[in-house]
Amino acid sequence: MSAPAETQQRRTDETPAMTALRSKDLLGIAELTTGEIALILDTAEAMKEVGERPIKKVPALRGKTVVNLFFEPSTRTRTSFEIAEKRLSADTLNIAVATSSVVKGETLADTALNLEAMRPDMIVLRHSSSGACHLLSRICRSAIINAGDGMHEHPTQALLDAFTIREHKKRLAGLKVAIIGDLLHSRVLRSNIHLLTKMGSDVWVCGPPTLIPADIGRFGVRATSAVDEAVTDADVIMLLRIQLERMEGAYFPSLREYFNVFGMTEARLRRAKPDVMIMHPGPMNRGVEIASEVADGPYSVILEQVANGVAVRMAVLYLLAGGAEHEAAA
């Protein structure tokens, strides 16, 4: 993609090699190539170092305006994005649903156009409708970063999960990753499936048949409702949140029964590899999808995931800040 270094007539003491994402937006992992995923993860390593310095701030996004547009409550993801933006010196603006004009009946398209009129550089969108980011991306010139859309994708979560796995295991290819929980309603699942299968992991998904999406086999994963089978020899076990209201849809009889059949306990964990990692995108339901001893146990990397979230989001913000089109060399 990039021309050989020698032909670029660059100032040799100034410009390192250039490489970029192809799209102006990050809508989902589905749209990314393995090269782009690797670029984000590599960049996140450098960003992680920024967070370890005495002064955790670099001027990279000085003068850039980032709007965090959240139509769903999310302390964790919004905070993580906001810290990432501030560490890169961007100006950040938080718009939460309660304070937005949406309650007055404005459409998402109109909200977006009004924001756009104020010329932000990037919009980080969290929305309860699948595809809301695609809609925004068609309307807006700003870069759109998907911070979770309905049941569709949550790409930065999958990237931070992959980053955390790679830190521990030094690779993603060939690892057995078991994802257990409410598969049907999980955007984290979809993003992780796309990412991990692209990077060559052996992905197993597990949950009650009522919570397994249709045609799951076409995603390139193995699906089972036998939790022991999913856990056996797993390198990574990722647990997904079980929402209380799912009982009402008759997806399973009770939280107690769910825990008995699918909950991750120390006993179940013994079937996994000795150096298994336990992951959870949060927020956790202790005693439902995960026993407290496991959540707080030696295999758990749940808090590392949170820490890495900032680095990964810094990487995404940084890489998208330049835009997608390749400027002709001046």
């Binding site: 032909t7 007539q9 040799t12 003491d13 390192p16 250039m18 170092e49 330049g322 060399a329």
Partner: protein, 182 residues
């Protein structure tokens, strides 16, 4: 493409710079080397090796990535972002005399970025600048303390440093402007 420094010349130059460092600082106490990525890093390591041979002392060495501090980063309205690499400075720079190492000194903007980046890591006692080649055309009031070679150039020319560690050979080349659109 004229070769302005060959492997032998680069080696002797770095040894000479190491001697100048010891002489000027009256030893290597409180010194630390920080190479600017990419090619400043192997140069810093070679200088550290020379300093060890001369003085028997190990000078701590780090690597600095200045990408996030570049003043041209957000000036292009659209365009791919330069690759960010990890900064690795595994020691405190507080009260150290930092020897900042880069391959080519040109406009001075990289050095400006490096100084800003470095100061985010602590408060060194002083910073000295080492460059293998100074090709002139400064745009900022910056001057090197140790210069391997002063190389007068025109703006159209470019200077390329090749090092064994990254390029498989040691060579400094002065490239003439190429014909055609670039």
């Amino acid at each position: 493409m004229p070769v302005v420094m060959d492997a032998d010349r680069i080696g002797r130059t770095l040894t000479r710079i190491a001697h100048e460092i010891v002489e000027r600082n009256r030893g290597v106490e409180d010194l630390a080397l920080v190479g600017v990525r990419t090619r400043g890093v192997p140069l810093a390591r070679r200088i550290a090796k020379s300093l060890r041979e001369i003085t028997g002392h190990e000078v701590p060495t780090g690597a600095l990535d200045i990408t996030l501090y570049r003043d041209d980063l957000m000036r292009q309205s659209v365009g791919p972002q330069p690759l960010v690499r990890r900064t690795e400075i595994p020691f405190s720079i507080d009260d150290k005399k930092i020897l900042l190492v880069d391959d080519v000194l040109y406009t001075g903007r990289t050095t400006r970025a490096a100084l800003d980046a470095l100061i985010d890591y602590g408060r060194p006692r002083g910073i000295q600048l080492i460059v293998l080649v100074d090709r002139g055309h400064r745009e900022l009031p910056i001057k090197a303390d140790y210069v391997g070679k002063n190389l007068p150039t025109s703006l159209e020319e470019s200077v390329q440093v090749y090092l064994q560690e990254s390029d498989g050979r040691d060579e400094v080349v002065l490239q003439q402007p190429q014909g055609g659109a670039v």
